[in-house]
């Protein structure tokens, strides 16, 4: 086994560990932190199923963003939806035999990368062209987009330009999963692609990528509007101080 393969094996294990531990820690923290008061942004659903529907539309269609700004919505939604396709397509490197629906998505999914890049470039353009967005962007906001564009464009490069030994790649990743380590093909474009992915995984729990789990825990979106019918209480404030009833 080459040194390069060994390094990538260690990198991936470390990245997975950091991402999982970090996310579990964060999500647990979100879950156990009290919600002292009822603060849904109204009009809000008055039932649990209504809240599920509200979150569904937020997550799948970016409902609020659509209301806010059509360009940001267009670029943002295209990027996320295309990324989902691309991620699903990548499942074929981690499953054997490949699930039927993954094989079905695969031929369409590979074009998703172009849409993903289009969306990302649009979002980045806004950070330069719209004075308000330029004002609120910090270096990390630009670097995050650069990172994602790097991942997308190296992926496209591998798929449509240089090509690579995908049988060996699949063997490498299955080897990672089953602790039966296999060599990684020596391909510099693939190497860059994978290093960037590892980097993304590592920064996930430390960065604004936490918006993904955050959305599920946002009290303004996930609370039911029924404070008169049901008395809301939270660990910290169940009964008024100094009173017992």
């Amino acid at each position: 086994m080459s040194l390069l393969t060994l390094i990538f094996i260690l990198l991936f294990y470390a990245a997975i560990a950091i991402m999982l531990v970090g996310l579990v820690y964060k999500i647990r923290l979100y879950a156990i932190t009290p919600t002292p008061l009822r603060i849904p942004t109204t009009p809000a659903p008055t039932t649990r199923s209504g809240v599920i529907a509200r979150l569904f539309f937020e997550i799948v269609l970016f409902n609020s963003l659509f209301k806010a700004n059509k360009w940001t919505w267009l670029f943002g939604w295209l990027f996320h939806a295309a990324m989902l396709f691309v991620l699903l397509r990548h499942l074929r490197y981690f499953t054997d035999p490949v699930w039927g629906w993954v094989s079905f998505v695969q031929p369409y999914g590979k074009y998703g990368a172009f849409i993903m890049l289009f969306g990302l470039c649009g979002l980045w353009a806004r950070r330069f062209l719209v004075d308000r967005v330029r004002y609120v962007s910090s270096p990390s906001d630009h670097l995050m987009l650069a990172l994602l564009i790097g991942i997308g464009s190296t992926g496209i490069g591998i798929k449509f330009v240089t090509g690579t030994d995908i049988v060996a790649i699949k063997a490498f990743f299955l080897g990672l999963i089953y602790f039966d380590w296999q060599p990684l093909p020596t391909d510099w474009l693939l190497g860059i692609h994978l290093v960037l992915v590892v980097l993304l995984m590592i920064i996930f729990p430390f960065s604004k990528l936490l918006h993904a789990p955050g959305l599920f825990f946002s009290p303004t979106r996930n609370q039911i509007d029924n404070p008169r019918e049901k008395r809301h209480s939270s660990n910290a404030s169940a009964t008024p101080a100094g009173r017992n009833w």
Partner: protein, 508 residues
């Protein structure tokens, strides 16, 4: 007072280009030592303010899922950047909701996150130094906590939560805002924001009774501290004598009278407003809410009804059950609490009121949705009832009603510019500029539909508009109370009403 130029009303709303520092000079008067101490905060900036502020920040975040999630989740997408009325009116980029939040978020990241501790420049993390403290004091008092940004944020991030937390931290280190903290003290000791003691309140109400009788010939009562009345009415103290609020109070009294409902005001809880919310202080908000519970128990009422006040209704509807509940001693066949608009609407639905729309024929009306009612509460049984019910009441009491542009009403409504504890004279520039988006929408219906009056259901909105309308070339009395319309249209007297006015239930 500072000189400033009233913004020019444009034909169509335009998002301004940013002007850094445009409102950096705006800051309210700092609360005096005695005002601070009265409500449990240090009298002046404490010596170790930096450490205490940072510690308090950690404590607040650990107690609020909203803060924790909001601070982590912002992706700086820019969706909120053109949604704040203060940004639209001042062009100061720190008045963009995300930039305002970042004053808090950047400090949080510096002290409480891995990225901010190790790579502050990369993620824009900043120290909590004297300069930052001044920025906080200035810009967290340029947020009216109206929640408009939270409607448009893809993650529901609510700048109101962050500005409340920031103000609580400022109070904790001894830098409070005079206007809010003085009022909170009065509400907690005297019972209302205006500091109106019981004898004065009694006089005022008797005066109003005489006025109504002079005008209508009908004896409509405004009872105070009447034990065993069915309804405790809790209303903003501005309703007792400020114009146009007082006409709303007369309207409520006429509704109760016409519907033969037994009701009372309380001198102990003679205030619906709860400025504890504005400064993010759970304890102070709870103390003020408890006065209402105590008054309800003391008077032995069956129902609690709130008068026209925006943030008061948010606290009452969304928080009071948590802060001062459970209210199991009240009649559970009515919602607790109820809004006066719910009561009036219900009576109209049941044909229990006789209304003569033509009495309001000299007016062409539009309706200003109050921010806290629209985005922080509800009326009635269905989501959005807070938009339907007031409009149905207006339409039942007048013949000429036109809504303002869709993106300025209902959940998209603009704050009046004076909410969130900013209705102070020392912030008049901010108030005038912050009213710009509403004034533009109003101007449109004035020109297109000859609208003469804007109806409001919030004491702060009413005071704010009375004050700023003249800056935009309109008259101060062009804002009116919703229940003023009702009071005008309601037909008292007639055989039914005559027998009701002598109802034994409301006699002392």
């Amino acid at each position: 007072m500072i000189d400033f130029e009233t913004p020019v009303l444009k034909e169509y709303p335009i998002i301004p280009l940013i002007q850094p520092g445009a409102m950096a000079h705006s800051k309210p008067y700092v609360a005096r030592q005695d005002l601070q101490e009265k409500i449990g905060f240090p009298g002046e900036l404490i010596d170790d303010w930096q450490d205490i502020a940072i510690k308090k920040m950690g404590e607040l975040v650990s107690k609020s899922r909203a803060l924790l999630v909001f601070l982590d989740s912002c992706v700086k997408c820019g969706a909120c950047t053109d949604k704040c009325h203060y940004f639209l009116g001042t062009a100061d980029p720190v008045n963009m909701p995300v930039a305002r939040q970042d004053l808090f978020r950047d400090v949080y990241r510096r002290y409480y996150t891995f990225a901010g501790r190790n790579f502050p420049k990369l993620v824009g993390a900043r120290e909590f130094d004297r300069e930052m403290l001044d920025l906080w004091y200035s810009y967290f008092h340029q947020c009216s906590q109206c929640r408009r940004c939270s409607v448009y944020c893809p993650f529901g991030i609510d700048t109101a939560e962050i500005s409340m937390a920031a103000r609580e931290i400022l109070d904790t280190i001894g830098v409070g805002q005079k206007y809010c903290n003085e009022i909170i003290g009065k509400a907690q000791t005297i019972g209302n924001n205006l500091g109106l003691p019981k004898p004065a309140l009694k006089d005022t109400l008797e005066g109003l009774e005489e006025d109504i009788e002079d005008e209508t010939g009908v004896k409509v009562r405004l009872p105070l501290d009447q034990k065993n009345a069915d309804i405790l009415l809790v209303t903003p103290s501005a309703d007792f004598f400020a114009e146009p609020q007082v006409d709303g109070l007369i309207g409520y009294a006429k509704v109760f009278h016409a519907a033969d409902l037994s009701w009372t005001l309380s001198s102990h809880a003679s205030e619906a407003a709860n400025f504890g919310m504005f400064i993010g202080s759970y304890e102070n908000m709870q103390k003020i809410s408890m006065r209402i519970r105590d008054a309800a128990l003391e008077l032995g009422v069956k129902r609690i009804v709130f008068g026209e006040c925006g943030h008061a209704w948010r606290v009452a509807y969304s928080f009071m059950n948590t802060l001062a509940g459970p209210f199991d001693f009240l009649d559970q066949s009515y919602p607790v609490p109820q809004h006066i608009c719910e009561v009036t609407h219900d009576l109209i639905q049941r044909n229990a009121l006789t209304l003569d729309k033509s009495t309001n024929d000299d007016r062409v009306l539009t309706f200003h949705d109050s921010c806290n009612i629209s985005r922080g509460s509800r009326m009635g049984n269905i989501p959005g009832g807070q938009f339907v019910i007031p409009r149905e009441i207006i339409k039942a009491t007048c013949n000429h009603f036109y809504d303002m542009a869709d993106d300025t009403i209902k959940e998209a409504t603009f704050c009046c510019g004076g909410g969130g504890g900013l209705l102070a004279d020392d912030l008049i520039e901010l108030r005038v500029k912050g009213a710009l988006p509403r004034m533009e929408a109003l101007k449109q219906v004035v020109e297109n539909h000859s609208v003469t009056h804007m109806v409001a259901i919030c004491a702060i909105c009413k005071s704010q508009f009375s004050r700023v309308l003249p800056y935009y070339g309109l008259e101060m009395d062009q804002v009116i109370s919703l229940h003023q319309l009702v009071g005008n249209a309601i037909v008292l007297g007639g055989s039914k009403q005559n027998s009701l006015s002598a109802n034994s239930d409301v006699k002392t």
